[in-house]
Amino acid sequence: MSAALGDEGVTVEARALTHRYGHRAVFERLSFSFRGPGIVAVRGPNGSGKSTLLRLLAGLLRPSSGESALTAGGRTIPPRERHRWIGYAAPDLAFYPELTALENLSFAAEARGLSSPAKRGRERLRKVGLEGRENERADALSSGMAQRLRLAFALLDDPPLLLLDEPGSHLDDEGRRSLASWIGDEGSRRLVMIATNDEREGALAGQRVELGSRGVGDPA
């Protein structure tokens, strides 16, 4: 059973969230609360912890201190179950090179217990402009196409929360234009958090998290 849209809205919260790599604090005591639908831009210079924040919210990392919370349907989702409520696309997301694009998505859908995994995979590939590439091995895809495959993966479960880390990376101009339009559409249906320094993607956001020195707030 998927955490489909149409459930009650999703809320993402950070409460005094701190993460350190060794002794170096990436960010400290970060707090925010965002409720979907909408678009939130996570911005900041390189090394400010944008990717780390998304991994924490996805439940892929454990914070050094503080906590993140995902509430959906009036219920707080434990970190180990978050994968069923989020769509995640990031540069560190790799696919099995020996499997085709469709096989990778079908595997992911099947493992999540979704119905008609192959059909669902084809639909998502079509949605991101990879129709006709279903049977190409993942290692034969260009970096731009691999990025589209990541976006297709993020949409697989029709999740109420999308976490997109540098979603426009490796895309050409046409791809970035399509992506901006696509993110705008998705933001009207679910909560989308984008880690980006791209002005076009950032401009779509109604709210933002500024990592570094300027704190958290709405766009200036």
């Binding site: 059973m1 180990r80 409520w85 560190d92 997301l93 790799a94 020996e98 499997l99 595997f107 993966f153």
Partner: protein, 225 residues
């Protein structure tokens, strides 16, 4: 949605199928394991000839060949995911327990495949006496279960560490040694006509203990990948 029993079962099944498909396409472990088994058996056979009267040596040799043939692949069960950067994908589609169970089932299938080829070749090349098939198959089955569970658990634990190769040998030695000892003893006993009940009990108990420890530990692994 919390993972229900049925969706966890589907995740395990999906991971098992994915592992089989990946192995079939890449032959990452199978070719190396079969090459090792055939080469070591052929060279030993040429060197020492048939050893039908040395069932103690035969029993040890059989399990050493099986262990080393399988270990090259079993040790890399999770390392391949870490080094191929596909661990994030796995963790986004299934719980750690489902991932580990899927991997364990694949490792058991892998071990059985190796044994299907290696054991008949061993009996022919080494001139081993005709085995008592019931006890031998029971020893092979329970030995494989314990070996697969132990190797999968160790592979999961070391997957995120530096120096994984050296660590696997060091950590797996104390875990796998009791399995090898019981399996060798049981294999020798079935050739000598002695009962193998004690060895079977030991292997079964060890396999159950390893599986229980695995189910308790897997959910706490990989949180900081």
């Amino acid at each position: 949605m919390p993972a229900s029993g049925s969706s966890s079962g589907r995740a395990v099944w999906a991971i098992l199928r994915k592992e089989c498909r990946s192995e079939w396409r890449t032959r990452y472990g199978l070719n190396a394991a079969l090459l090792f088994a055939v080469t070591s058996l052929a060279s030993t056979s040429f060197a020492v000839g048939r050893m039908s009267d040395r069932t103690d040596v035969l029993a040890a040799l059989l399990w050493v060949v099986l262990l080393f043939a399988a270990l090259a692949s079993l040790a890399h069960t999770f390392v391949r995911e870490t080094e191929g950067h596909t661990m994030t994908l796995l963790r986004l589609v299934a719980t750690p327990t489902s991932i580990a169970l899927g991997k364990l089932l694949f490792n058991l299938l892998f071990l059985i495949s190796i044994e299907l080829v290696t054991v008949p070749l061993f009996l022919i090349f080494m001139g081993a006496p005709a085995p008592r098939w019931g006890p031998l198959l029971a020893i092979l089955g329970l030995g494989s279960l314990a070996l697969g569970a132990g190797a999968t658990l160790v592979a999961a634990i070391i997957a995120q560490t530096r120096g994984r190769g050296a660590l696997f040998a060091g950590v797996s030695f104390p875990v796998l040694l009791p399995i090898l000892a019981a399996a060798v003893s049981g294999t020798r006993a079935q050739w000598s006509g002695a009962p193998v009940t004690a060895e079977l009990r030991l292997l079964a108990a060890y396999a159950v203990a390893l599986l229980a420890a695995s189910l308790l530990l897997y959910d706490h692994l990989w949180e900081d990948a």
